[in-house]
Amino acid sequence: MFDKLLIPLVLADASGGTLRGKTRSQKLVFLIQKQASTKKILKERFDYELYHYGPFSSELASVVDELVKKGYLRQETQISPAGYLRYAYTLTKAGKELLEVATEKNLLSPELMDIIKEVAEGYGNLPLPQLVEEAKKRF
């Protein structure tokens, strides 16, 4: 249960405190799961389905909404370069505190934390179409 709740929070932390966009978050979590599954370090995983814009997990979408409701993430709107609104999720003080406790208690394996950081650094800033393609390839 903890993996699913903590992965979005650790990802937000590793992405400079903010998850920029629902789509980006979906694809990054998918890539994290994919990397982690090769090392067999995930205790639980989100179910993904493949559609036009790559892998999508409605469960992950619900978990992120839940984290917003519980005050661990703050949902904000941003304006994209083409003038569309997109959602961003910023780690709150409560979210940071939860992460600290989770780290202290080893609720998330250090290897998984490393993978999240690697994915955030390696794919977090890719243009969205490229990230979507990358995730589709790995599905």
Partner: protein, 267 residues
Amino acid sequence: MSLMCSGVAEDHFLGLESFLVESGKMKKDDAKVYVFGLKRGTITSRDVAGMTGLSQSTAKDRLARLADRGFFESTLGEGHGRGRAVRYRALHPRLVLKGVIARTEELQSWLAKIDEHLEYLGESPAQESDFWLTKSHEETLSMVASMIEAAKEEIKLYSHDCSWIRVEEIKEAIKAAISKGVKLEVIATNPLEEATHELDDMGVHLENTQFNGPVFCVIDGSILLMPYKGGALETYYYLMKTNDKHWVTQYLNCFNSIKSSSRPWGE
């Protein structure tokens, strides 16, 4: 028996009643009777007649019709005398709204995919040169609030009376933007006193000017928002927006010119 059920506020019943009407599930008067039944537990045509002012036979027809449509269950037959009238019990809203609830869940799933689609489109580095017009008043306010809240660096706003400060959604968006460190500059021709106080409380320095021109707002030096007057019988203000570089720059220059000729309010 009290109409107020323990633990359920009147607002919740009213919310359900208006949902039933707005979702097209029931007519207003039928929804009233159904919710009345939910509050009471068990009702008769006499209760409905008392509540609505309808004749008892019309109330009886209405309840029978609502029972046929699956909103109530009823006791069998109708005897004579007091206490023998057919009694109706409202069915649980989760049963009544089963289809709507399922559709809403489906809608959530569609919206999640549509969110992705719009984010994908939004990532294309297209440079818009058009002016876009939003006509719905409610959506306009939400859109302006979202854009203000989404500002990263600065908001420059030229206004007449700053009456937008009365719109809670806009006020909250401004507060959120300021709390992120966004710099808000407001110049006004004839600001309302409450606007001066409200902005002052937010730490925004309001400046006044003699210049009287079209109201506008520039966000992060890249988006221009302007009200657009319309409406055939009544005056409505729509929202016009563009991120065309030429127009944004023109209005930024205009803001700076107004500012250089303005003086701090009250001085």
